[in-house]
Structure formats: structure tokens, C-alpha cells
């Protein structure tokens, strides 16, 4: 198979995502008062409603509606005041009623968008030919088929026949959507349109015992845990505006940061509270007709999302280039074997017999309700990133990473309070590097790991004053995490303060140059690399306390 970069020169990948997010932070399920928890014993949190017992009726969870309205507002969607629940029928034991309560043509949130900033190596995935006029044509021709491509429910949504009900679906306000332009450093910003976010209930969890990798084939028995049945779930469907696996990954990351900030879900891809299916098709560059798409499942990490799509794009290209045809099918990503395999072929569209749920009255959201939801939306990651960049003067990439996680952001703000420039950046560096690494090795999160913002602030000041080196900072971080002591005290007690006095360091430099005359000569002969070795020797000689930057300067001066 060709490499992705080769494939994307000739082929345009058209990618749309369907992202399911369980509203894990709600106390109760979507249509009943059962507890909405992940860790209970199987079938502990069930009642007549979520078990679909005869005569049971659903009552919508108002908090869930608040959550989806917030999700819509935070992703630039138009919140629909009038929408309703539909029943989607299919016979399978994971749905106790044999229909799923979901939404129809009009979802609570329609027609939003998120702007992706694509930087670094990932930006190179989009080839030069995918900018400018070509991209304008690409977007226009993809959106014309948007519904058909991006959602399996499309065939059930009889556009036009519902008349007034579809008035809210008139389309996007695309005036503020800019086409991507590549900057000198290769980065670009691209708007990704969101078709809809609708509300539905999750199905029960099935555990297949005895089969390979928990799959149903060859399983000797199937167990059903209805705890998850009826969990509030929101499904976001993008337009097929994504063109590279990197963009898909970034979209998912960005969405996750927004949902985390809204506090509507724990967004765990690992535990399945945030799940992503990818739809992808290929077409020759310049072609306006869409190719046949496949749907990818089991993309349960950011890496899986990227790698699964990348593999599938290359696979499709190979099939097409060999004159084969792509079948509309659902494929399973196998991360271990790094390949996708067929799950099922969709020969005909399933007939879900979608119709309005007569047990649930249509919604008529008031302006007050929507305003109340809007008022509860905290500062979103993009705004927070921009503020960190300007108010604290830290690097955009660090600001982005910190702002994306609400707890990390709160920790940063507490640590960097009153700081800006060098010490604030030092705080950011410590959080992004030291703290993140430390948290991987301990139980608990940032709020209960035992490290206080004041400690990080103090350590950052030492760094910013060049009182310690970054290597020393790493050591001090470990010590302060262990002891809970203030870094100043640790540094003083252990005599770790960095020496930044040229007068004190020059003798060390002289001594090293005398001892390492060969290397000194190499440097003079033009081998710049050897300077690092000499700095290392000086550091060793000073028992780690000399300022490495100053050693560097002094060495250069002495050797010139």
C-alpha cells in the first residue's frame, strides 16, 4: 500500500464523523430516575422504564436537554426551539423496547461549526493542492450530499414532506466560514461544519462470552447489562468537511475539550463515554462526485481515529487504483493488526420505521430556557487559550493544551496568578511537562495529587530567575511532590541554587579546556557539536550547579 502522503496527492479523502457522547455527569438516565453511573454491578440501575417493561412510559430528563443546548451553543449551532423525539425501530436485545428513542429531522441543535487550527507536522497531511479554489469546489460539492454521506438516518428523514417541521433546516449561515489558507509555517485554519447534534438514549451493554476478542462470532453466550440502557447520549454529526486523518483527530480533540469544559461528560474514549465512527470516501482530485463511503468503527482513541482513517484511505486508494470498487460497508479497525476488516455490508438501507414518539410531547424551548443554558456556559477553551496567550504571555501551543482541560486550566490560573512572561511560561512548562508526567504515575487527578499551585509558582520563579536549571527543576519537582515542601526550601537546604556568576564559573571553564584540549581543538577546527560535550563537562565539574547557558557563553568566548 502507498503511504498516506502519496495517496493524498492524487486522491481527496472526504471524511465525516459521527460522535456519540454519554452525558456521564448527569445524575439520572434520559427517561427515568435510575442512577446514571458506570461502576455499578450489572443490572443494578434498572427500572420498568429503562427495562422497557409493559406499560412503562418515558419522562425526559430536563438536565439532559440543558446539556445538549449547551453543547450546541458552544459549537456555534442554531438551537431549535421546536423539535421532538422519534422512535427508531430495530430488533436487538440491547434495546429493551426494540426501538431507540432518538430525534428526527429536526434535532435540538442544527448547523454549527468549529474552526480547526492545524499546525505542526500534522498540517503537512493536507497537500498543497487542497487549498484555495480547489477547496472551495470541494466543500461545495461535498455539502450537496452532506446528509446522504454523514448519517444513516438520512433515508428516514423525508425532507420536504414535513413542510413546516423542516423550516429550521434551511441551511447554514456560511458567511463567516472562511476557506483554509496555508500560512508560511505550513499551518492553516479550516472551518468544519456540524450538521446536527441530537439527543438519544444509549443501548444496553452486551458481553459476549467465549468468543474471540469479546466479539459475538463464536461466543457461547451473550450477557446483557441494562445499566447503560437509557443513558443520555448526544450524537454530533459533522458535514463531510474533513480532508485528512489529522483534521479528524484534531476535531475530536477540540470537541472533547469543549465538552469537558462544559462539564457535560467525562469524555472518556477509553471507557466508551465518547465514541467516534468515521465515514470516509475517496475521489480523484478535482472530481466533484463523491465516492462510495465506508464506515469505520472501534476508533476508541485519538490515535485509533487517526491511524484507522489513514489506513482506510490507503486501502481504498489501492482498491480503486487496481480498478476495484468500494462497497458501502461497516469496517472494524483492528489496532493490533493495523488494518480494517468488514463487519457488515449494507446492501439496502435499514428501514427503521422512524416516527414521532407519541409518549413524548414535542418540545417548545423558551428563550428564557436557552438564555439560562447560555449563562451557565463557562469560558470555552479557544477563548481561554487566547486569554492565556495575551494575559500571561505564554506560548499558544501550551495555552491550547492547558486551556483544554478545565482542571488543568484552573491549576494553571492558580499557579500563574499575578505572573506574566518568563515566570508564567515557566509555570506553563512545569504543568505541561513535569506535572503531566508526574500525574501519569500516580493515582488521582490534578486536584488531589498532593501538589499545590503555590509550589509550582515558587518553582517557576526559581526557574525564571535562573536560580536553578531545568534539570534541577525536574529533581526539585520530584522532591517537592514527595515531601510537600516549598521548592525554595528544598533548593536552599540542598544547596542546589544555580551559580550564575561568571567570575565563579570561569575557573571551571579554564580547567575543563585544559583537561579536554583535544575537544577544544576540534571546536576551533569547526566542529560545533563538541561544544555540548564541553558544557556537560563544566556542569559535571560544578556538580550541576553552574548555569549551563552561562557555561556555553564562557566556553565560546574562551575558544574564540
Amino acid at each position: 500500500m502507498k503511504e498516506l502522503s502519496e495517496v493524498l496527492k492524487d486522491w481527496e479523502a472526504v471524511i465525516g464523523l459521527e460522535i456519540h457522547t454519554e452525558l456521564t455527569t448527569l445524575e439520572t438516565k434520559m427517561f427515568c430516575n435510575c442512577k446514571n453511573t458506570h461502576d455499578a454491578k450489572p443490572n443494578a440501575n434498572v427500572c420498568p422504564v429503562c427495562l422497557g417493561l409493559p406499560g412503562a412510559l418515558p419522562v425526559p430528563n430536563k438536565r439532559a436537554i440543558e446539556s445538549i443546548v449547551k453543547a450546541g451553543l458552544a459549537t456555534n449551532c442554531e438551537v431549535q426551539k421546536h423539535s421532538m423525539f422519534y422512535r427508531k425501530h430495530y430488533f436487538y436485545p440491547d434495546m429493551a423496547k426494540n426501538f431507540q428513542t432518538t430525534q428526527g429531522p429536526v434535532a435540538f441543535c442544527m448547523h454549527g461549526h468549529l474552526d480547526l487550527e492545524v499546525t505542526g507536522r500534522g498540517a503537512a497531511e493536507r497537500p498543497e493542492c487542497a487549498f484555495g479554489a480547489a477547496e472551495a469546489q470541494s466543500l461545495a460539492s461535498a455539502s450537496a450530499n452532506a446528509v446522504g454521506l454523514s448519517t444513516a438516518m438520512a433515508t428516514q428523514m423525508r425532507e420536504g414532506s414535513h413542510g413546516g417541521a423542516l423550516a429550521g433546516m434551511s441551511g447554514y449561515n456560511t458567511a463567516n466560514l472562511a476557506l483554509p489558507e496555508r500560512h508560511e509555517d505550513g499551518s492553516y485554519t479550516v472551518p468544519i461544519r456540524i450538521l446536527r447534534i441530537h439527543m438519544e438514549e444509549d443501548a444496553a451493554k452486551m458481553v459476549h462470552v467465549g468468543g474471540e476478542e469479546g466479539r459475538i462470532a463464536a461466543a457461547s453466550e451473550s450477557l446483557i447489562d441494562y445499566n447503560r440502557c437509557g443513558t443520555p447520549l448526544i450524537e454530533l454529526v459533522t458535514e463531510p468537511d474533513l480532508r485528512t486523518p489529522e483534521e479528524a483527530r484534531l476535531f475530536m480533540e477540540k470537541l472533547r475539550r469543549i465538552f469537558l469544559t462544559l462539564g457535560i461528560s467525562d469524555c472518556s474514549m477509553e471507557h466508551g463515554s465518547m465514541r467516534c465512527d468515521g465515514n470516509v470516501s475517496l475521489r480523484r482530485r478535482g472530481e466533484t462526485k463523491l465516492g462510495t463511503k465506508t464506515e469505520l468503527k472501534n476508533l476508541n482513541s485519538f490515535k485509533a481515529l487517526h491511524d484507522g482513517l489513514a489506513y482506510e484511505i490507503c486501502r481504498q486508494a489501492e482498491v480503486l487504483e487496481e480498478g476495484g470498487i468500494i462497497y458501502q460497508e461497516t469496517r472494524h479497525w483492528e489496532p493490533g493488526r493495523k488494518r480494517t476488516v468488514v463487519m457488515r455490508v449494507k446492501e439496502t438501507a435499514d428501514d427503521y420505521r422512524l416516527f414521532p414518539d407519541p409518549d413524548l410531547a414535542p418540545f417548545d424551548l423558551s428563550d428564557e430556557f436557552i438564555a439560562h443554558c447560555a449563562a451557565e456556559i463557562p469560558e470555552l477553551p479557544d477563548a481561554k487559550r487566547d486569554r492565556y496567550e495575551t494575559a500571561f504571555g505564554i506560548k499558544r501551543a501550551d495555552a491550547e493544551q492547558i486551556a483544554g482541560d478545565p482542571e488543568t486550566a484552573a491549576f494553571f490560573e492558580a499557579s500563574a496568578e499575578g505572573l506574566s512572561g518568563k515566570p508564567a511560561q515557566a509555570v506553563a512548562n512545569l504543568i505541561v511537562n513535569e506535572l503531566a508526567a508526574y500525574l501519569k504515575g500516580v493515582e488521582g487527578g490534578i486536584t488531589d495529587c498532593g501538589i499545590a499551585p503555590a509550589q509550582v509558582a515558587s518553582l517557576a520563579k526559581l526557574l525564571a530567575e535562573d536560580a536553578i536549571s531545568s534539570n534541577q527543576a525536574h529533581e526539585v519537582f520530584g522532591l517537592m511532590a514527595e515531601s510537600g515542601e516549598d521548592p525554595e526550601k528544598i533548593v536552599d537546604e540542598r544547596g542546589m541554587r544555580q551559580v550564575s556568576d561568571a567570575g565563579a564559573l570561569q575557573p571551571i571553564v579554564d580547567e575543563v579546556l585544559e583537561r579536554c584540549a583535544d575537544q577544544a581543538q576540534q571546536y576551533r577546527d569547526g566542529n560545533q557539536k563538541v561544544l555540548g560535550f564541553l558544557v556537560g563537562q563544566c556542569m559535571k565539574e560544578s556538580r550541576g550547579q553552574g548555569n549551563p547557558k552561562l557555561f556555553n557563553e564562557l566556553l565560546r568566548a574562551s575558544l574564540s
Binding site: P48, L51, G52, L53, P54, G55, A56, L57, P58, V59, P60, R87, H89, F91, P93, A96, K97, N98, F99, T155, Q156, R158, S161, H162, A349, D351, R353, L354, F355, P358, D359, L360, A361
Partner: protein
């Protein structure tokens, strides 16, 4: 002189228990005795629950002994249609599919009757999953009309109507999706009311057509029905049913108000409809004259889209039924086909063998009507018709307080007399449009037909949530037909059963 349970109204029983004339246990036992003596001939019940009944009665007696205030219907026995859950009973919907299904919770409507002091004596027979107008489609046995046991009691709440008409209980609950309370009430000569949609909770009542189903009471007097309505709605809307609404009225208040000066609508097309028998027509005309005599004004009203009602009903009803009955797949509960090779076979065969023919017919119809490409033509058209019919009624009520019409085009027919399902569907002509519009309706017995000697009746229907006004007119009719000398209502218990068992000790 011996006193029999079947001569006492619910109001009279509750008053007698309060006054210490008889105990709740005596009443419950009398009801159980009457059932024992009459069931062979009537077969109104699928289950009788003496232990639950006597325990509930003993609680009433204990409360009275303790000097506490008794709830309004304390000690009144009642029958429950077998599509309503009651813990301690099976809820079978008269289907093999649920033959052994034990209720794991209690329906709100049943609970509210219990809270009002009522004593549950058993689960009443019905058409399977409420699909039918005869109760003959019960998977277990037919129920016989107490006025002529060769004949059907109507349906689908035929067991509830027959139990009241046979004097086994003074009150019963039924459910009405297209006439399933009002039609059997008419055929059995009792009062049967379908309240406005949303007035009574549907939680715990096995759904047939969710947008059409409504629970309501049967009784032998209008006052008893009003008392039951108070019990069903008094606690306000049910938090477990998102379609239920507050209905904050006392149904007994104003029940005996004069109707002088009020207007009663008559739909000429209904009085001329093909299939309306002369005796039924005569009965409704006599009722119109009676209301006129009491000072009401008769006005003709027109419902231009009424023709579409039956067609709309037989789209919306089966579509919702298909969806509601999808859950019966034999996996978690209900009939499970043994020895199946795989999941598909198990749910297909469980459904094939668990459901009777009418239940299958309606679900297949619904599955077809909702399928891709067909939906627009039928379901969407039916919803439009529904909007028009609802608007027709609303504009008719600008000209009148209630509308008087037949409940059923004819009196009770013999078992097996109508075998063509579409002919059977037409028998619902007078009841269906009320479910389509979501308004209330009550069938009032008007004595015996001149030709058949069987009960005849008429129906009063009213605007949404004006059910009390409707009952006021029903009471006016009842008053007009009450024997002035004895004070007995026009019809009480079917004579073949009067005084058979059920003596109060």
C-alpha cells in the same frame, strides 16, 4: 331483608361502610361470592384475587376501627382490565405472550383507586392487547354479555363492562383507544367514560396506541363514575406520564345542576349513517328529547372531516401498536419459544406463537404503514386528518356545550356473528373520532331496545377537559330515565344475575 352487593352503588357502599352498616370485609366477600356464583355464565375475569381483596378490605376496616378518616371510596370493590399492572397479579393483556407475566409495579391509575380505598377483586378479560370490539379475541376465553350470554359484551374492555353489568362489582377500570370503554358500556347497559386524553395517567397500562389510549371508569350510575374520576385525577398529573395533565375539578360538584339553557349539538350525518339500527336511533332521539324537555337547546353541528376518522384511526392505531408491541420478543419476559437455533428464530417464533391473529394483523399493518416510502402516503396523511378532525370538534364546541350521538350503531351481537375484520372496524364509527380528537366521551344506558330487548345507549362527548360538563348532561339523562317511584336507575344489574350470590352477611 337480605341486602345484595349488586343493588348497591359505589357511593352507597362507601357510605354504608363509613356508617358501620356493613364492614369492608363483608362487602369484599359479597363481591367475591357474586363472582363465584356468576362467573361460569359471564366469564368476565381472567384472575380473581381474593387475598388482595380481603387484605385491602381489612385495611379499611382497621382504619375505621382506629377512628381515622376513610378515603372517599373506602371498601368499594373494583375490577381492573388485565392490561393494567397491579403487583400481586399477572398482567396478561389476554395474550399467550404474557400468560405468566407477573406485574413488577403497579399502574398509577390502579394505585390511585387503591389510594381512594377501593378493593381490587380481579383482572378483567379483554380483547388480546385491546385489539377488538367483542372480547372474543382474548387468548383464554370469551366473555358473555350478562343481558344475553349468547352475545358479546363488546370490547375491548368487555370483561370490565360485563363484571359491572352482572353485579359482580360496582366499579371497574377500562381503557379506551377507539371506543373500548364506551362501546362495551353501551352493549352491557352500564355507564362508561373515556376522559379527555391526558386526564388520567397511562403509566403502567400496557400501551396499544399511545396517542389514543385513555383509562376510564365503568359504573352503574353517573355518580359512581364521577367518584372514580375524582380518585383517578385528584392527585394531579402523574410525574411518570409526560402526557398527563392536571385536571383540577371535583367531578361530583355540579353533577346535579340543571342543564336548562345549555346547548346540545346533534350531528345529522351521524343520525343518518348506514348501519345505525332503528332502535338505537330511536333511543338517541329519545335522549335528545329528554334533554330538550329539561330545557336544553338542540343545535345541529357539522364535522366536515368526520369521514376520514376511521381511516386515520386504522393508520395511527396500528402504527403505534406495532411500535409499542415490538418489545414483546420473548427475551426478557413473556412467551419464549423453546429450542431455537439463534436469536432471530427465537424472537420471530416467540412472536409468531405468542400473539393471536388480530394482534399480528394490527402489527403487520403498522409495520407496513410506517415503512419507508409508505409513511408519507398514510401516516403523514392520517396526522393531517387528525388535525382537521380536532379542529372540526373545536369549532363545533363554539356552538354547543356537548354533542349527543350514538355510542354503538347496534345492540350486542352474537359471538361470531361478525367475522370480517373491516366490518368489525366500522362498528367503531361513533367512538373513534373522539380518540382522534382527544376529547372526552361517556356512554349512558337508555333502557332496553324495543326490537332486541337488549341495552341501548347514547354517547355524550365534550370539549377537552370539560369532562365534568359532559357528566352533568349524562346525569341529566340518567335522572330523566330514573323510575320516579323506586328511585332505581333505568338499568341496574342484568336481571338473570340479580341477587345470585353476593348477599351481604
Amino acid at each position: 331483608m337480605a341486602q345484595y352487593i349488586d343493588t348497591l352503588s359505589a357511593a352507597r357502599i362507601a357510605a354504608g361502610i363509613k356508617a358501620g352498616e356493613f364492614s369492608a370485609r363483608e362487602v369484599a366477600q359479597a363481591s367475591l361470592d357474586a363472582i363465584a356464583a356468576r362467573e361460569d355464565a359471564v366469564q368476565a375475569f381472567l384472575q380473581v384475587c381474593p387475598e388482595l381483596a380481603l387484605a385491602a378490605a381489612d385495611r379499611v376496616d382497621a382504619a375505621r376501627a382506629a377512628g381515622g378518616e376513610l378515603p372517599p371510596l373506602a371498601g368499594v370493590p373494583f375490577a381492573i382490565k388485565d392490561n393494567m399492572n397491579l403487583v400481586g397479579t399477572r398482567t396478561t393483556c389476554a395474550s399467550r405472550m404474557l400468560e405468566n407475566y407477573e406485574s413488577v409495579y403497579t399502574a398509577t391509575c390502579v394505585q390511585r383507586m387503591l389510594d381512594a380505598g377501593c378493593v381490587p377483586v380481579g383482572k378483567a378479560n379483554m380483547d388480546e392487547f385491546a385489539f377488538g370490539s367483542t372480547t372474543d379475541s382474548s387468548a383464554f376465553h370469551p366473555t358473555h354479555n350478562p343481558w344475553d350470554t349468547e352475545r358479546v359484551p363488546g370490547g375491548s374492555s368487555g370483561g370490565s363492562a360485563a363484571a359491572v353489568a352482572a353485579g359482580e362489582v360496582p366499579l371497574a377500570l377500562g381503557s379506551d383507544t377507539g371506543g373500548s370503554i364506551r362501546q362495551p358500556a353501551a352493549l352491557c347497559g352500564v355507564v362508561g367514560m373515556k376522559p379527555t386524553y391526558g386526564a388520567v395517567s397511562r403509566y403502567g397500562v400496557v400501551a396499544f396506541g399511545s396517542s389514543l389510549d385513555q383509562v376510564g371508569p365503568f359504573g352503574r350510575t353517573v355518580e359512581d363514575v364521577a367518584l372514580a374520576m375524582n380518585a383517578l385525577t385528584g392527585a394531579g398529573k402523574d410525574p411518570y406520564d409526560g402526557t398527563s395533565q392536571d385536571c383540577p375539578v371535583d367531578f361530583c360538584e355540579h353533577l346535579n345542576d340543571p342543564i336548562e339553557g345549555r346547548r346540545v349539538g346533534i350531528i345529522p350525518a351521524f343520525m343518518e349513517a348506514e348501519g345505525l339500527t332503528p332502535e338505537m336511533r330511536a333511543a338517541v332521539e329519545a335522549a335528545a328529547r329528554e334533554l330538550e324537555n329539561q330545557g336544553a337547546e338542540l343545535v345541529e353541528v357539522d364535522l366536515p372531516h368526520l369521514d376520514a376518522a376511521i381511516a386515520a384511526y386504522y393508520v395511527i392505531g396500528p402504527a403505534e401498536a406495532f411500535s409499542n408491541l415490538a418489545r414483546f420478543d420473548g427475551i426478557r419476559y413473556g412467551y419464549q419459544e423453546p429450542d431455537c437455533a439463534n436469536l432471530d428464530a427465537q424472537s420471530s417464533l416467540s412472536r409468531a406463537h405468542g400473539f393471536g391473529p388480530e394482534a399480528k394483523r394490527r402489527q403487520m399493518l403498522g409495520a407496513y404503514l410506517l415503512s419507508s416510502g409508505v409513511y408519507d402516503k398514510y401516516y403523514y396523511a392520517a396526522q393531517k386528518a387528525r388535525t382537521l378532525i380536532t379542529a372540526d370538534y373545536a369549532s363545533a364546541y363554539e356552538r354547543c356545550d356537548v354533542i349527543l350521538m350514538p355510542s354503538s350503531p347496534r345492540t350486542a351481537w352474537r359471538h361470531g356473528e361478525i367475522s370480517d375484520p373491516t366490518q368489525m372496524y366500522l362498528a367503531d364509527l361513533y367512538t373513534i373520532s373522539i380518540n382522534i380528537a382527544g376529547n372526552g366521551g361517556v356512554s349512558v344506558p337508555l333502557g332496553l331496545g324495543a326490537d332486541s330487548g337488549l341495552p341501548v345507549a347514547s354517547q355524550l362527548v365534550g370539549p377537552a377537559f370539560k369532562d365534568r360538563t359532559m357528566l352533568m348532561f349524562a346525569r341529566a339523562l340518567e335522572r330523566g330515565l330514573t323510575d320516579a317511584a323506586t328511585g332505581a336507575p333505568a338499568l341496574s344489574v342484568a336481571p338473570a344475575f340479580a341477587g345470585k350470590g353476593g348477599e351481604l352477611a
